[in-house]
């Protein structure tokens, strides 16, 4: 178990398909990442061709999607076969500068998170570019440079709908608190798992022989709470996107008199919305306010050169950036939930203790990163 992992392992691969002989050192070379990269490339290429403008355009591309997923799965199995020996717990250290003597899994997780940062940066820079490069729908509306019945291209931030009332904002706000709490419950799981037998026994007044099972169950409770909060997060996101919810009766007035909080889908905020119409862009309603007297639209309507009416907008770019970015984040939450489900079950079976608590720490890095991304997504996609 406690081998010297500092030297290389030339000649100790039983087979290129694994398993790797950890007792002779680490790290080892693997072609599994290449297989998975090819699978991901095929998956993304196929996926990009399946939908055009929100409609299924090429069912043939689905075969590419499925083949890509199969190749990724094969890559994962190869990787699993190479690294999972099922004969003990190994925590190999990195041997090369600048990460010498740091756990390989920790270094790997940080490098993975670096690549994840690049993914989200691409999405953020796209959002910034389009938000600043395409005229805002409200500005276009007030400029009067539109005619009822003809669609104009403009950028409609989802925040215009979401931050329009406390009720619309509620799912996103609750989700923000849920993710922060879930980050804390992961930390509590880690702290509990790392607690020595003696300390745990003293703190919770548990007999020494029962410490392992008791401590692992407690870890499972914290991980289960994290899983619950992650489920709440995705459920509220689905409500916000597709379902909506009723406004409690006495509070209807606070929702501009409406008895229901409409979902983004019901509001028409969709990735293929090229003829988007909303009461905010209706001269007879305009968000329940008067048209500002200092706007060009007001002057034109006063002078009789603009008949008013409802502006029709092509908001596909704005809606796409919102759904792709928040959807990508949602997929990360879903991936975390799969890991959490496994880890919770492992805890219920007595599998967590000080010897393997670092696994919770490394999962925690991923989970905190998901929280970190939301810290930026929430204000700039939901609030502003």
């Amino acid at each position: 178990m406690s081998g010297d992992y500092g030297h290389d392992d030339h000649g100790h691969h039983a087979s290129p398909w694994g398993p790797h002989d950890w007792s002779h050192g680490a790290p080892h070379n693997s072609f599994a990442p290449l297989i998975m990269s090819a699978g991901f490339a095929l998956f993304l290429y196929g996926f990009a061709n399946v939908f055009v403008g929100g409609e299924v355009a090429d069912l043939g591309a689905l075969s590419g999607v499925m083949l890509g997923l199969i190749i990724v799965t094969i890559g994962l199995l190869v990787w699993w076969r190479q690294d999972m020996t099922f004969d003990g717990v190994y925590e190999p250290k990195a041997t090369g500068a600048p990460f010498r003597n740091i756990d390989i899994r920790k270094v790997s997780m940080w490098i993975f998170l670096m690549s994840e940062m690049m993914v989200f940066t691409s999405l953020f820079s796209t959002y910034i570019r389009y938000r600043l490069g395409i005229p805002n729908c409200n500005d276009v509306f007030l400029s009067g440079e539109w005619i009822e019945g003809t669609s104009v291209v403009c950028f409609e931030p989802a925040a215009h709908l979401i931050a329009s009332s406390w009720f619309h904002l509620a799912p996103g706000a609750v989700n923000t608190f849920a993710l922060i709490i879930s980050s804390f419950t992961v930390v509590l799981a880690l702290k509990t798992a790392k607690m020595s037998d003696k300390k745990y026994s003293d703190k919770y007044e548990v007999e020494m022989e029962n410490v392992q099972a008791h401590r692992s169950r407690k870890v499972a409770v914290f991980l289960g709470a994290t899983l619950f909060l992650a489920t709440l997060f995705l459920t509220l996101k689905m409500i916000e996107w597709f379902v909506g919810f009723p406004t409690p009766g006495p509070l209807t007035n606070l929702n501009h008199g409406h008895s229901e909080i409409a979902s983004l889908y019901t509001e028409g905020y969709r990735i293929n919305a090229d003829t988007y119409q909303h009461y905010a862009y209706d001269t007879s309603y305009h968000d329940g306010k008067d048209i500002p007297p200092d706007s060009a639209l007001y002057s034109m309507m006063q002078a009789g050169t603009h008949p008013g009416g409802v502006m029709m907008a092509d908001i596909r770019v704005g809606a796409s950036t919102f759904f792709v970015t928040t959807g990508t984040h949602g997929v990360h939450v879903l991936a975390g939930m799969i890991g959490l489900a496994y880890m919770t079950l492992k805890g219920l079976r007595g599998g967590w203790g000080p010897s393997n608590a670092v696994t919770i720490e490394y999962f925690g890095l991923y989970w905190h990163f998901v929280d970190l991304v939301w810290v930026l997504v929430f204000p700039f996609f939901y609030l502003f």
Partner: protein, 109 residues
């Protein structure tokens, strides 16, 4: 795990409450109509410390033996992020509407 305290208390506990309070201020700032510039300033002003608090304390980029090298690792993509956000995101005025045909979807005119 952290081997330090914040105001004599458990750092994770303090960080958790700090994040909760900052988020409450964030949401409240949007509920109160303060104008775009002030609201944006508040949102950015709160997002930055929240980001640092999660990375430094929850992700152990502060206070651990390997925090320094892992912070450098985490900051490595910052160069590319700056290039993407500032030199692609905020410049190239025609990028949004004048993309060459080969990188636009076929339905986009």
């Amino acid at each position: 795990m952290a081997h330090y305290t914040i105001f004599g208390k458990d750092p994770y506990w303090m960080n958790f409450w700090g994040l909760m309070i900052l988020t409450a201020i964030e949401v409240a700032a949007v509920g109160v109509e303060l104008g775009d510039t002030i609201t944006m300033s508040i949102l950015v002003g709160i997002a930055i410390p929240k980001f640092i608090m999660i990375a430094a304390i929850f992700m152990h980029l502060y206070g651990d033996a390997d925090s320094k090298i892992l912070t450098m690792t985490a900051l490595f993509p910052a160069f590319f992020i700056i290039v993407m956000v500032f030199f692609i995101g905020l410049t190239s005025p025609g990028a949004a509407t004048e993309l060459p045909a080969w990188c636009r979807p076929s339905y986009w005119t």
